[in-house]
Each structure stands twice: as C-alpha cells, then as structure tokens.
C-alpha cells in the first residue's frame, strides 16, 4: 500500500481552466511535505515545502496548501508551459534519527492551448 497517494493520475485542462491536484499521506512523524515539477527525462524541480497544517505557499499560478493528512496543489489559469508531472513527497521520521523521503506516483498534467 502506497504511503503517498496522488490523484488524479492524469489531468487534461484547457488553457485558463483552473484545477487542483491532491496528495494524501499515511506516514507518521511528518517533517514536511514537498511539491516538485518533473519534465520528461529530467530531475524533479523543487516548488514548495509545507511543514504544518494550515500552511499555504504560492508561486506564480501555483498555490499549495496542507491539512493534517493531505495537500492540494491549486493551478490557477494554467498555461501550456505548466504541462509536466507534479510530484508530492513527504519527509517523515526515520529510525536513524534522520528522515525518510517518500514520493507519490505523480499527476501528469497536460494543458491544451
């Protein structure tokens, strides 16, 4: 069973059509939740870190929010260049006193002009 679940798996939007991506998690001892953007064949690109329920972060057309067991990535008036896979990752307490990063499977977003 996945500890981090992202939905939907794929999303097609028209340019300007706002929507939200979901990330839910079941890990305990959450240290932080992260959103990344990944373009095909490239490494994940850091977008946001959220640490506590109620926290919100914004960057251009993206806004990330966090509740106790899930996070949302809101995309307002998307453009074709926002097309990418959006990854959610949680960092949670590890046995070594450090933390363990666990990624979701991602949401593949395509924005049509």
């Amino acid at each position: 069973e996945d500890q981090v679940t992202q939905s939907p798996e794929a999303l097609r939007l028209q340019e300007g059509e706002s929507s939200s991506l979901n990330c839910s998690y079941t890990v305990s001892g959450l240290r932080g939740l992260f959103w990344y953007r990944q373009d095909p064949g490239k490494g994940p690109e850091f977008l946001f870190t959220l640490y506590s329920a109620g926290e919100e972060k914004e960057k251009e057309r993206l806004k990330a929010t966090l509740t106790k067991k899930e996070s949302f990535l809101h995309i307002t008036a998307p453009k074709p260049e926002d097309s990418a896979t959006y990854l959610c990752a949680v960092f949670w307490g590890g046995s070594g006193g450090s933390y363990i990063p666990t990624f979701g499977r991602g949401t593949s977003l395509i924005v049509h002009p």
Binding site: F34, G41, G43, F46, G96, I100
Partner: protein, 114 residues
C-alpha cells in the same frame, strides 16, 4: 544559479559489471541523497548521507550499493554487480544547511544494464 551536476548522463553496462555514478552537489549543501526512478514509475529513495556517513537507507539500498564522498565536492554511488533490474534513472540531490529539507535534484544518469 548553482546546480547539482551528474555524470555521465547515460551509462550502458553489462550485467555483473560495477558502475560508479558521480554527482557534484551544490557547494554549501550538507545533506546528499541518491534516488532512482525506473521508467514510468515513482521516484524511490535509496540513501541519504550527512557528515560523511549514511543517515538513512531504504530496503533497495542493499550490499550491492555503496556511497562515498571521496573529496569535498564529489558524491558517488557505486553498484558492485549490476542486474537487469538496476536499469533506471538515478538522481542525486542535495539540501542546504538551513534545515529546510528542500532538495535540489541533478539532471540524472540513465543506467542501462544489458
């Protein structure tokens, strides 16, 4: 803007051979990580490294894998005897010292085991 670099971009090797993947993290970063991503699958954590020792490792990171920071700039992942299932993209990442946990990823090395 500083970035994480990885070499080579693509490595082809035969099953049973040893490979070393190289990474140069961002210069003032203190935490380093290796991940793998099998084609079409999710990013999987392998190992984290801090203060010249392993902080955490996943079940994937077995005795066939090792990491090293041989000097002040490079961070390497060694796979001793590659298997077909080791074929994947391998990403290195690093985190700044400010305790934010933000990870900056390199472009990846595509490893193909034949």
């Amino acid at each position: 803007e500083p970035e994480v670099t990885q070499t080579p971009s693509h490595q082809v090797t035969q099953m049973g051979q040893e490979v070393i993947l190289r990474c140069v993290p961002i210069s003032n970063h203190l935490y380093f990580y290796w991940y793998r991503q099998i084609l079409g699958q999710k990013v999987e954590f392998l190992v984290s490294f801090y203060n010249n020792e392993i902080s955490e490792k996943s079940e994937i990171f077995d005795d066939q894998f090792s990491v090293e920071r041989p000097d002040g700039s490079n961070f390497t992942l060694k796979i001793r005897s590659t298997k077909l299932e080791d074929s994947a993209m391998y990403f290195c990442a690093s985190t700044p010292p400010a305790g934010t946990y933000e990870q900056y990823f390199g472009p990846g090395t595509r490893l193909t085991v034949t």
